[in-house]
């Protein structure tokens, strides 16, 4: 009698396995996106763009740069941007990684970002620390919604959200929760 029981149980188990197998939801088929393929990469990449009068306007350097064929975008590792202006000290912007859009107009500086300008004559030095900065090159405009800290001379200002025009006349806004400290002498 015992073998009959075992056989029945085995049939029962096989039956439930079959039901489970047929009811299994269809695995989502990954629609294959055209490959985000690298067509070329450069090490110690450097690009200098000039003004119409042949003066250096801005320079982009990076340890590593890779260009993607499908959307013509570029990704940078440890990019350093330098903004030149004739009568003001240069502005140096660096970050952990960067992205350059295909038209070369939008730069995304990701991770920790540092913006630095030396002092010159009666122009106070300026240093800005923030994260994830979006730069519109044609408008010389930079913005982030992250925490930002500005040091200018002996003054320090911090808050949330930055909107900055970084070419003449330089204008910098902090949007929220502002704390400032201004030394007297």
């Amino acid at each position: 009698m015992k073998p009959l029981k075992i056989l029945a149980l085995a049939l029962f188990a096989a039956g439930t396995w079959w039901i489970a197998f047929t009811q299994e939801p269809e695995a989502p088929v990954q629609t294959a996106k055209p490959g985000h393929k690298i067509d070329y990469f450069l090490k110690h990449f450097e690009a200098l763009s000039m003004t119409l009068s042949g003066e250096p306007k801005q320079r982009i350097k990076a340890e590593y740069m890779q260009h993607f064929v499908d959307d013509d975008s570029t990704e940078l590792t440890r990019p350093i941007m330098t903004m030149y202006s004739s009568d003001k000290p240069d502005l140096h912007i660096n970050s952990e990684t960067g992205y350059l859009s295909s038209d070369g107009e939008l730069v995304l500086l990701n991770g920790a970002v540092n913006i630095r300008r030396e002092a010159l004559k009666n122009i106070a030095p300026l240093e800005i620390d923030t994260h994830n900065l979006r730069i519109q090159l044609p408008n010389d405009f930079a913005e982030t919604d992250e925490f930002v800290k500005i040091k200018s001379g002996t003054n320090a200002i911090e808050g949330m959200g930055l909107r900055a025009h970084f070419r003449e006349p330089i204008n910098i806004k902090i949007l929220e929760q502002v704390r400032g400290r201004h030394e007297i002498n």
Partner: protein
């Protein structure tokens, strides 16, 4: 306090704007400025820098409110006006437009009050326009 002047000016506000060329920083929205025992509450504050340090602070409000603890055991000095000019390097606070200042129970009201924040000395009335109306209420000394 006379030591206030060595302290840095600390500011809290909703937002901030730096005009790098003019070296002007503007704080706006619920602005609170403190420097040692001095406190100014305003809607908008403009700080003018000279060679990287703070030279002049202009506060505008409806009204701007001010208080400071003078040396010794005098009571708090309080003031209100629609505009404050704080000449930092000169330790001088000029209250303009509907200005009132309370010191030791005395009240000074005028369109212009100058206050020496180091020595806690009040000078009311507008020296330029001759006799700007000044109203002074002096509390009788307590027996």
């Amino acid at each position: 306090l006379s030591t206030d002047k060595q302290k840095p000016v600390e500011v809290e506000a909703d937002n901030f704007n730096l005009d790098d060329a003019k070296k002007i920083t503007v704080y706006s929205g619920n602005v609170i400025i403190t420097q040692g025992s001095m406190e100014i509450i305003a809607d908008k504050v403009t700080i003018h820098g000279v060679r990287g340090t703070t030279d002049k602070v202009i506060a505008i409000g409806n009204p701007v409110k001010f208080k400071q603890q003078p040396d010794g055991n005098q009571g708090l000095i309080r003031g209100e006006a629609n505009r404050f000019n704080y000449l930092v390097t000169k330790d001088t606070l000029v209250l303009l437009d509907d200005a009132t200042l309370w010191q030791n129970g005395n009240t000074f009201a005028s369109d212009r009050i100058e206050y020496d924040s180091k020595r806690s000395i009040v000078k009311a009335g507008d020296k330029k326009a001759g006799s700007k109306r000044v109203k002074v209420t002096l509390e009788p000394a307590k027996k």
